[in-house]
Symmetry: C2
Subunit: 523 residues, 2 copies
């Protein structure tokens, strides 16, 4: 054990990384390996509420967000949570901290389910001490700010499932949850599938509603009771606030939502689909999850073609929905979409209209401290990565320069699926993606089965079954070292990022242990 600059004890975890035993004054556990950390104790127990304290007519309307925050007991050090279903079109998170700053409050903790570029103005509140640290994700400019070592506290990065786990287990105790809702009633029932700022679902706010001390629903589309579906149940809600606008619809759809046009990426997509067929991973009633990137979307389209040609149906498709998945559903090629987050307006429409386009939550899909979860049941999982190393460990949060730029999302949670495939380019901007050692380990190599690049496929030696299956095919299968060497042949051996010795953030594993430590980056 050793003390680092932050003056906390460090210990080497099961993937060989030094991690702190304390963060922001709270005891931590080092990652112990997949399925090794056994939680003890009981779930977080919220205070017992009573109808005495709530309006007898059910009307919880409150004059303003500020009033609701004050009634909720907003004070120095409060832990405030928000959700990210509006993605880059969120208009509410910043308002909360504008109000807090105006009130002169300090040392708040912000627990978003994810952050986006629209949240970059929040750095001023990190700067002036209004916000002590972020537990969630520090994307884009908030990530750069964090990597400079400028945040007062230490950031905590969690997966979507890890966030549910942490809230459920009391690893993070939320004082006030603010749930921006596209539609709600005066009792606090709320839904994301309709209204001018419809964003599909509100599953990322479920844990917040269940466990936060105070829950505020803010909406720009108040409807008569009952607001149904009630994705968020009013029985968990303290105050309802009406406002002009909770989200900018055109920015809710953000990120890549179209199939890639890059010939290299298309080739990777096709190769991935071919691999899945040859390895027998696609069959009637199979299930899959693919992300929203251009390559993943393209792979999904190949899957659709394969299903159609074979007269097969997928049992379910999990993950964020988009127009391609919706087409698959409406064509009858998948029986269900089990959706965690809608990525485009077709996804929103379909969730509203199709009974078998189901809104799920990190509780059902990802929580590792539940009695099982959906992610484990998925046959084929298609994911991205910023870096993969020769031990199949992968990184999704920092770039090759060591700068924190992304959240984990559901990435770690889906690694528990049956076969995990990472279609990645061999290099990006002449920087290899497959390297000796990833800057940050987000997922342990033992859970990553296949890497597909435009120049060949590497199968994890732990998956001899897959290696056997594709023997004798014309698939370009190499060892991961061979892929790495190819990358270095094109790009040279990449320089390692230059880290300082200040811990700026930690990456939690799905069970709440720390899998890696992120240090400040030296320019």
């Amino acid at each position: 054990m050793a003390l680092n600059k932050n003056n906390v004890e460090m210990v080497r975890n099961a993937v060989g990384r030094m991690v702190p035993l304390e963060i922001n004054g709270i005891k931590q556990y080092p990652y112990m390996g997949v399925g090794k950390f056994r939680p003890e104790g009981r779930k977080y127990a919220p205070k017992i509420a009573t109808c005495i304290d709530y309006p007898s007519d059910g009307n919880k309307l409150t004059g303003s967000l500020k009033e609701a925050l004050i009634k909720s007991g907003l004070k120095n050090g409060s832990v405030i949570s928000t959700h990210h279903h509006f993605r880059n079109g969120d208009l509410i998170a910043q308002q909360i901290f504008d109000i807090a700053a105006e009130m002169g409050l300090r040392d708040l903790v912000w627990v978003p389910s994810a952050s986006f570029e629209c949240h970059s103005p929040m750095s001023k509140y990190l700067e002036d001490g209004t916000i002590h640290h972020i537990e969630g994700s520090m994307n884009g400019s908030l990530g750069r700010y964090t990597s400079k070592g400028k945040m007062t506290g230490v950031g905590i990065l969690r997966s979507h499932g890890g966030r549910y786990q942490a809230i459920q287990d009391g690893d993070v105790v939320i004082d006030i949850a603010v749930i921006a809702a596209p539609t709600a009633d005066m009792f606090g029932n709320a839904t994301g599938d309709r209204g001018p700022a419809a964003c599909g679902l509100l599953g990322f706010a479920l844990a917040d509603s269940q466990y936060a001390d105070k829950v505020i629903v803010i909406t720009d589309n108040l409807v008569p009771f009952p607001c149904y579906p009630w994705q968020i149940q009013g029985n968990y809600v303290d105050y309802v606030v009406e406002t002009d606008r909770v989200g900018i619809p055109e920015k809710i759809v953000s990120g890549t939502t179209e199939i890639t046009k890059s010939p290299d990426r298309l080739f990777i997509a096709e190769l991935t689909a071919r691999f899945c067929m040859e390895a027998g991973l696609i069959h009637d009633n199979f299930s899959f999850q693919a992300g929203a990137g251009g390559t993943a979307l393209s792979i999904g389209n190949y899957f659709t073609d394969i299903l159609r040609e074979n007269n097969w149906k997928a049992a379910f498709a999990r993950g964020g929905s988009n127009k391609y998945l919706v087409k698959m559903l409406e064509e009858g090629l998948t029986k269900f979409i089990l959706d965690g987050q809608t990525f485009d307006l077709e996804g929103v429409r379909s969730m509203r209209e199709n009974w078998n386009h189901v809104n799920t939550s990190p509780f059902t899909s990802y929580n590792y401290h539940g009695k099982g979860n959906f992610a484990q049941m998925v046959d084929v999982v298609i994911l991205g990565a910023t870096e993969v190393d020769v031990n199949f460990n992968a990184n999704v949060v920092t770039h090759s320069d060591g700068v924190l730029l992304h959240g984990i999302g559901g990435w770690q949670n889906t690694l528990l699926g049956k076969t995990v495939i990472l279609p990645v380019p061999l290099f990006r901007d002449r920087i290899p993606v497959i390297i000796d050692e990833v800057s940050t380990i987000c997922g342990p190599g033992e859970l990553i089965d296949v890497i597909v690049t435009e120049r060949g496929i590497a199968i994890n030696p732990r998956r001899q079954d897959l290696i056997e299956k594709v023997k004798g095919t014309d698939l370009p299968v190499y060892t991961i070292e061979e892929l790495k060497q190819q990358a270095e042949r094109y790009c040279g051996v990449p320089e390692k990022p230059k880290f300082g010795d200040e811990i700026v953030a930690v990456v939690k594993w799905v069970d709440g242990t720390i899998i890696d430590t992120i240090y400040n980056v030296i320019d």
Copy 2:
């Protein structure tokens, strides 16, 4: 304070009844008045689970109910819960105790959400010590058994909402919940709206699934994952058992499900509807809850006619559903049915087919220790009673002979609605219904607004607004004393039941305090 035969301290509560301060070794609180008892502390916190302990493929199928019970740790003193959505057609509850008796276990506690005549064989397990006591309802022959003072422990009667409150707050800690499900998947997702034993919904088992240590789903209709809707979420479930038959469909529909043909009852129904109209209680967007008895059904039909004639729509109808409510919904005369329990097969069909026929739970509808509940928002509540006294206190659990024969159901919870009307006959079998003092107080008079009988209407003096509204109409309004005198003129002054001094059960109020004590009845 005094000690009674059970050797527990007794205290007089806010409605003047002597109640014990301890039941089955657990500390109790006396009823303090409506909205007076303020709960302290936190919700019950179940153990943190981990995916490590559950099959990685999500398949929780277990060989038999016995195996699942043993794996769940069934032992002497275990607290076992079941739900009553199969009503008189339940085939599962008894099997659990057959297994326990065969294993030679003793002192189990049975926590059904209600019991029916089909459960009368359970008395043998009360007799031989397999079951120590029942917390739920002791209906029919189980009630008679209890009233004889033959149960080892003391029975606890709770409303549907009170049961949710008690489980949520840890007043009763369930070791093993057995949830019989008309349809389920191997992960434990379950629904009541389809399958050979379809019973509509499974809301009464929600608390059990959320808070019990171990949860067993047993089904006779196993479907591929995902079973959707998932009224019960597999993420709460430990074991799934397949069996031949969970319920007898024709007995699921039990009790009165047809409009009354009795001229007296029809007159009460019509008078109730007229009262509601004259008092301005029915209007566009009003809401109501009516029970499933013949009179209540008939009143619902009058409401339907009034809505149709005035071109109005109800905002929602709450309560158990039946073919009359479904017709109302499908004719567009109510925007929603917020359903807690389906009373006939049309209710089951409609819940499956109509998006606005919504399955609710005691959490949303009734839990008094929540942040509000739906029952409070209902404009007009139509309920029954076995007895009403001159203080408007009412009884629903014991008969005029003092024998325990009914559960509370949602009755207490719905008293929190805006206007509560009890249409009751002035006498039954020549025994007055309106008397000086009810045998058992289930609901305090301050929450009961109007009594409608075939010989006149009494309005609670607390509701001067209603008295004003119907002044000058031809409605036959009397004081409650006048109604009582009328009843006595026909039937004479009724004899009081003869109670012993042994506490056989207590009646909880919606907040977990004891509102009344039930003693053994002397023949």
